[in-house]
């Protein structure tokens, strides 16, 4: 891909990410034409695109206990450097890494009261951001309240809640599914578990 096409594509993807971070809890979809194939990689292609949109030489990432191939490919495509989960700017939880996911999110940096922006952004791959366990969200970016539904094999809600108890400290989460849908929950979003499942 030439530089110009890459520049246009990352711009489009960034705006989708920004839109989801601003309008909290509303799923957005990365257009198909913005997603390439990544054959030797355990991550969703959409996750790879988001990483290429946000990471560069100055950012450290942690990618679960991912295989070497995936780490190498992220390095190659973004120039970002691998980092321990407690120091990483971006933490990626691959869809098939449920067993250690909570531990890695617990380790994530939450910034300091003086520099709350020096905190991790966590990309969580999940089966769906359109249906699954339902929550009611409130907070900035939400007109009164919004119902979200996320299908994920580990208890992200508990890990996230524990990291976000002391605003402005916290982590910001971006959920991605295999279809290229994404949904963001910045640290300000307050969640209440809703009975039943949404959209199943």
């Amino acid at each position: 891909m030439d530089n110009k096409t890459r520049a246009y594509r990352t711009q489009k993807i960034f705006r989708k990410v920004l839109q989801s971070m601003a309008y909290v809890g509303r799923p957005v979809r990365i257009p198909k034409e913005c997603i390439s194939e990544y054959p030797d990689n355990r991550l969703f292609p959409a996750t790879m695109e988001i990483l290429q949109t946000l990471l560069d030489t100055t950012t450290g990432f942690f990618c679960g206990d991912a295989d070497e191939n995936t780490v190498r490919e992220i390095r190659l495509r973004t120039s970002a450097y691998p980092e321990k989960p407690e120091a990483a700017d971006f933490i990626v939880i691959p869809a098939d890494a449920a067993e250690n996911a909570a531990r890695h999110v617990e380790a994530a940096k939450t910034g300091t009261i003086y520099d709350p922006h020096c905190s991790a952004t966590v990309l969580i791959e999940c089966r769906s951001v359109l249906r699954g366990s339902a929550y009611l969200c409130r907070g900035p970016g939400i007109d009164a309240a919004i119902r979200i539904a996320v299908q994920c094999s580990w208890n992200w809600e508990k890990s996230r809640r524990e990291k976000n108890t002391e605003f402005p400290l916290g982590i910001d989460c971006i959920f991605v599914d295999g279809e290229g849908n994404l949904l963001s929950l910045p640290r300000t979003a307050k969640l209440d578990r809703q009975p039943g499942k949404e959209g199943v």
């Binding site: 709350p116 007109d143 300000t188």
Partner: protein, 284 residues
Amino acid sequence: MFKEKHFAFLDESSKKEIRRAVLKAVAIPGYQVPFASRELPIARGWGTGGLQITLSLIGEDDIVKVIDQGSDESVNAVSLRNLIQETTNVRSTIRTQEATLIQTRHRIPETPLKEGQILILQVPLPEPLRNVEPSEYKTKKLHGEGDYSGAWLKMFEDIMRYGQTATGADHPVCVDGRYVMAPSPIPRFDNPKLDNSPALLLFGAGREKKIYAVPPYTQVVSLAFDDYPFRRERFAGEKCRLTGLSDVYLDELTDETTGEIYYQINDSSYLLEHLNRETEMQTE
């Protein structure tokens, strides 16, 4: 030597840094995220913060509007818009409701913003506590500890001396009950438009190297005391000479021939639209 222009001027890694700062700013409403700030072909202090955000956000599908002190056609607005268009070829508009990105200096348009629009405000002095504390290191601490007694004391002193708070434009606000924020030098008339806005509001200070944000549907309260409530500029009995409208921000102008003072809507595109609607109605 170096002739080809890159899309949206900034190199891609500069944009990435700005984009990451914007995301953190949205996630921490009202908090000033430091960023490295690039030099642009326009001078520091002339809108480089806003412009860096615009250039990092803008894409082929956007429609951009640029205003300066309420006007789409003032020289600086034209100059910024030309730079954006020369480096991106995107469409521009003066109609607020048509724009996807609106870069502005010192005004929020009169036409209410809607979901999906992004308003980018140019900020000369992002630090609301600077007039009580010159040191950046110390103001950063005050924000971290949520210690805003200095800002309150300043308003209290104003009231003791003048009988009311003395801020003109740039009256400080509190965002989502946590951070005190400089709304940029918008008139107090525009402060209420920050509250619970359906549009995303981004603030860029290029020289001071800060980016901050008010996400949509976020509570924004202008600082005031219970017994000395926040007050917008009052245009008591004053009306726009051309439209007769009164609940808008008015420029105070002097008639060159008679020497009389008259008033006119400051938001130039709002004024035009109103006039056009009226003529249409008359012709029908």
